[in-house]
């Protein structure tokens, strides 16, 4: 909605008008937030979510433009359409926030997460874990005679599925990066 004009990027292609604002259906949205890389900026964003009772399902942050001191925060959140709009507007009014993109409604996007999974197993289970890793295009980044550390990249669902398969085979530890996401195309 042009009149709403939440910070640039977030609303010009927003499907806000198309979605029922009164809907009580909880949706999952991936937001990309471009911020000044200054001290405390992550605390500001996280504090906003906790202070106003919003959900964070996943959050990643890293500097993406060293010269411009810009960081990109990718946050996956859940809420009704009106809550999602409110989250975007609240993020947009933080002083160090430059842009808020709702990748879920702005158009097609790609999402990737990296997972490291340690599987402790021997015998058939060890062989089976390696076979499944191949199917999932996970690679082995560390190995002992009793363990593997697999590296897997993909959507969160894919990593969930891989972890579920590894669990009965001896999954010992998981580390995940959270989601990084970009819109498709050159817009």
């Amino acid at each position: 909605m042009s009149a709403l004009n939440i910070k640039k990027g977030s609303s010009s292609h927003s499907a806000y008008d198309l979605r029922d604002p009164h809907s009580q259906v909880v949706e999952t949205h991936t937001l990309a937030v471009l911020v000044d890389n200054e001290a405390g900026v992550l605390a500001r964003v996280i504090g906003l979510f906790s202070g106003r009772g919003y959900n964070i399902e996943s959050l990643t942050v890293a500097e993406v433009d060293h010269k411009g001191h810009r960081s990109r925060i990718t946050v996956v959140t859940r809420g009704t359409p009106s809550v999602i709009e409110q989250i975007k507007a609240q993020l947009g009014r933080l002083v160090p926030v430059h842009e808020v993109h709702d990748l879920t409604v702005d158009g097609p996007s790609v999402e990737r997460e990296l997972g490291l999974l340690k599987v402790v197993a021997s015998g058939d289970k060890r062989i089976e874990s390696l076979r499944l890793a191949e199917i999932f295009r996970a690679s082995v980044v560390d190995s002992t005679l009793e363990s593997f550390v697999f590296e897997i990249t993909g959507t969160p669902d894919k990593i969930d599925a891989f972890a579920d398969l590894m669990r009965p085979l001896g999954l010992a530890e998981v580390a995940r990066t959270g989601v990084a996401a970009l819109s498709r195309g050159f817009a």
Binding site: M1, S2, A3, L4, N5, I6, P21, H22, D36, A39, G40, A43, R44, G47, G51, S82, E85, Q86, A89, Q90, G92, R93, L94, V95, P96, H98
Partner: protein, 585 residues
Amino acid sequence: MMSRTMTGAKMVVQALKDQGVEVVFGYPGGAVLPIYDEIFQQNEIRHILVRHEQGAVHMAEGYARSTGKPGVVLVTSGPGATNAVTGLTDALLDSIPLVVLSGQVPTFMIGTDGFQEADTIGITRPCTKHNWLVKDTDKLADTIHQAFHVATSGRPGPVLIDIPKDVQFATGTYIQAREARTAHYQPKVKGDLDAITRLVELIETAERPVFYTGGGVINSGVGASQLLRELVDATGFPITSTLMGLGAYPASGKSWLGMLGMHGLYEANLAMHGCDLMINIGARFDDRITGRIADFSPRSKKAHIDIDPSSINKVIPVDIPIVGDVGHVLEDLLKVWKARGRKVNKDGLARWWTQIEEWKARKCLTYKPSDTAIKPQYALERLEALTRGRDRYITTEVGQHQMWAAQFLHFDAPNRWMTSGGLGTMGYGLPASIGVQIAHPDALVINVAGEASWLMNMQEMGTAMQFRAPVKQFILNNERLGMVRQWQQLLHGERYSHSWSESLPDFVKLAEAFGCKGIRCEDPAKLDDAIQEMLDYDGPVIFDCLVERHENCFPMIPSGKPHNEMLLGDASTEGAIQAGGAVLV
């Protein structure tokens, strides 16, 4: 030509001067000594020494709200900064521009739990619009200029700059305000013309329109209030306002319905409930306004003009959102409306006003008069009558007296009414009145108070005396926490848990102890003379007005009820609030 190399402490004072600051409210301490040293060596900026840092922030709020300029506060690290937190939160909720400077332990001691160290940035992050820790003297001037820009641009609010002591001692390069980095924060002020035109179309046909205005009109500046008056008078639409917006449209204006909301006027609330077009200008559908959300103005189209996109659709979904500064939007709105022929639905409007006059005839502010006890409403009616036409500023504390003041005092100009709306901070009014008086030395400044609220920051009478601020403290003393008592009566089975004021001081003797004038009055027949004595006295006055103890504030929309289920003064209050409403505040 001024040298651009100077110490951080000197930079602070220089930057304040360049920002046009005339007054700083503050309290010294170890971590701000270098800045106080610089303040000592100049005469352009006046420093008001407060008695408690909370007082400093409320004074700065009073200063800001009565002038439209940002208020400036200087406090030390640790307890100095934590004492400022209530004031910062108050200013955040009421969108008041403040720049608070706090001292901090030296950079090399941060994180060591040093003496008077607190994580001021962490503590104040959620109660400021933005805050900065400056670790490099070269960045100090830029940060201070940015701070003024952020505090006053878009939706105004408080900001804080935390300045470690070594940064104050070190030298760096000063930069001017125009060289500072402000481009990254430029909120949009012009409203979308398509949306404005859609609103004009509704204005042209509406049968039962109402303007619902708020503090955003005041914050947008005197010009916005002028435009609002022009629009209201030209359309002939009725107008009501929130607590925060009183004075933007004159109470003496013919379209004025009075304040709306929980203790708003019957006609204002029923107009909101029954309207077919609601035009919200700079208000935010606060819960004190809406009552039960599901039944809020069920048959109206709603337009919302607000500079903050996050205010829109936050509580009440609206049909026409317009993001922009009230002044700019009203200017365009008037232009479009005039260009299209200044049309309104005259017949519909006439019927609507007939209906409103019927509601007005209920005279919802009627109270039972008394010859023996001073009714609080009567005290305010007399205060209004005896100060009408004066250059008058009113501050309040929080509670029943605040609502009665909003109902019975009338404001014909903006920036004349300073009250803690969003946060509801008891202890706000006395320091705020001092801040107002410092900004307007010759004006009549009255703090309408309750005795319990007033005690919360009464130490600031010392500040009023020291700086010859002749503030009048008009205390409606019912020896009760009146609003708490009222709710306990209505909601908690008349169990008055801790809601009376035991061991009150003798306010007249207290006044004498501070060196100012004390007046006590408990006889309605003597009230006029006593108020006149207060007004005539050249100096601060503490007026102990002993009022009826168990008066309730009506009208009242009980928690969890819609606008059309208000309680009026003569109505039975038995079972008025159900269990569901009791959980609400």
